[in-house]
Amino acid sequence: MSERRLSPNLVIGAALVTLVCGVALLSVVWTPHPYAVINVSQKFAPASAEHWLGTDQLGRDLVSQLMVGAANSMMVALLAVGVGCVLGTAFGLLAAARGGWTEEAIMRVSDLGFAFPALLFAIMLAAAYGPSLSVVVVAIAFINIPIFARVARAAAKQVWHREYVYVARAAGMGRFAISRDHILPNIAAPVIVQATIEFAVAILTEAALSYLGLGAQPPAPSWGRMLSEAQTLMSLAPQLAIWPGLCIFIAVLGFGLLGDGLRDMTDPRLIRERRA
């Protein structure tokens, strides 16, 4: 298995993802200061031993807000991609197992999903139901369903033509049981790779929506909303516009690299190429 050497993408990606997830988890039990406590006498404090990255316009500790922001980002991405992945994969498996008009119907409906970029869909939902984090989760989840349906169907269709599946069918196994026991484990790799990449996209989308005021509502800290607050103070406190953006960048870069690395490791075509 020496071909499966760990690529730099994978190592750097995994390290960044571990860092972001670790900080997000830590924030649940500990932050240097309570993130929402306002202390106007301390506003725009520079970095110090007490406030590692300084404070914002209301004297709130920046590090604490960034940490809770990480938890917020991870939560949204996990929920949205999780729901999209489970439902989409189920539809993809169903399409591949049934074929015929079921497959045609699922694929045509999922084509429709590609007409709506996640951001546009979320804007529409937020306009109709009011801005909130749940609208963001629903919108991203919804847009992810057709993406996973496509990936799962394409991979599953190949597996359906493997010999062991023919054997299972000959042995009288039903389509559902085959999908669960033989197809699903064998399409896990592309689905997980896609999920990692969609995680990065979800973090970006949540940040953009919160920046535009359609996501996390105050006082819940979100990297995107911190940036939109920082924008009005840019000539006064430019540092406030740096850190939240850097956090988004690190998180998205981490999941993107991890996804690329995992794909390089699991894509049979690439492995064959490397062996050749």
């Binding site: 007409a115 951001l119 840019m234 516009a241 870069l253």
Partner: protein, 315 residues
């Protein structure tokens, strides 16, 4: 060929229709009272009833949908609740700015991506290649709105070379173009990151083919081979991604307009949300989604024009 085009046109019209149903359903049918959304929770029941009657909300849903679609086909999206003018007038007034931003973003994206991608492919496996790929990896991870803020911080706040936002109107073309420099850069730098990677791998794939070796053996210069032989043959995947990126360009424009306070359609969308002007929001969402669907359709048609082989294959 004509069968292929006819099928695509039918699929395109069907998708447009389905999109209109989704947009209308989300904005009208799902639980929630539009009159309550527009007027807010402090409004009286009488005021809400009056508004419902004015907006035709007391009509059956199907009738309202048909009314909306027929109107939209004639270019009539109804009256904006907050601006008090027809929505189509608002769109006509704001479209030129959005169109200019999207067009300049697209042109700079493609130029930048082709140059970077082909350069990286030509230096495959050497430091130039790694450098460009590293930049592109970073470009993919940078949120466009944060990059915009950094550009404003550097070029508007620190260096004072360019305006930080706003739009002076087309009356003064130089000022108008200056106002579009930073938004275009923010849009294009992020978009070209993905496209540069695709260009690079598409070019690498073509460079392995026999005819390139033949061209090299015939004595053509490497620059000539890259731009005249490799690039044209690498265009199909590049065009696919340009088409797919159109959705990103549309949403990117919406975000960037709000970062730079540019009075285009994206800004109008957010003003309408803030004003709870659902009629305008519905029209704009439909407009943007229709743009994306149209772009996808044109990409499908473009394949056939770029690659004659597909013409025969698809009949």
């Amino acid at each position: 060929m004509s069968y292929f085009i006819a099928r695509r046109v039918a699929g395109f019209l069907l998708t447009l229709w389905a999109v209109s149903v989704v947009v209308f359903a989300v904005m009208n049918v799902l639980p929630g009272d539009p009159a309550l959304t527009i007027l807010g929770i402090d409004s009286t029941e009488e005021a809400r009833a009056a508004l419902r009657a004015r907006l035709g909300l007391d009509q059956p849903v199907v009738l309202r949908y048909l009314d909306w679609v027929m109107g939209a086909l004639r270019g009539d999206f109804g009256q904006s609740y907050s601006f008090g003018v027809p929505v189509s007038d608002l769109i006509a007034e704001r479209l030129p700015l959005t169109f200019s931003l999207a067009l300049s973003g697209m042109v700079v994206t493609v130029l930048l991506a082709l140059v970077l991608g082909v350069t990286a492919a030509a230096r495959h496996g050497r430091p130039g290649d790694w450098g460009i790929m590293l930049l592109s990896q970073m470009g993919i991870a940078i949120p466009a709105f944060w990059l915009s803020m950094l550009l404003v911080l550097l070029f508007a706040v620190k260096l004072r070379w360019l305006p930080p936002g706003g739009f002076p109107g087309w009356g003064d073309p130089v000022a108008a173009l200056r106002a579009l420099v930073l938004p275009t850069a923010a849009l294009a730098l992020v978009q070209s990151a993905v496209l540069a990677r695709v260009t690079r791998s598409a070019a690498l794939e073509v460079m392995r083919l026999d005819f390139v070796r033949t061209a090299r053996a015939t004595g053509f210069g490497s620059r000539h081979i890259l731009w005249r032989h490799v690039l044209p043959n690498a265009l199909v995947p590049i065009v696919t991604i340009v088409g797919l990126q159109f959705a990103g360009l549309v949403t990117g424009t919406i975000v960037i307009e709000n970062v730079f306070y540019l009075p285009g359609l994206g800004r109008l969308l957010f003003q309408s949300i803030a004003n709870r002007d659902l009629i305008t929001v519905q029209a704009l969402v439909m407009f943007f989604a229709a743009l994306v669907v149209t772009a996808n359709f044109l990409v499908d048609i473009a394949y056939v024009i770029i690659d004659p082989r597909l013409r025969e294959a698809r009949g």
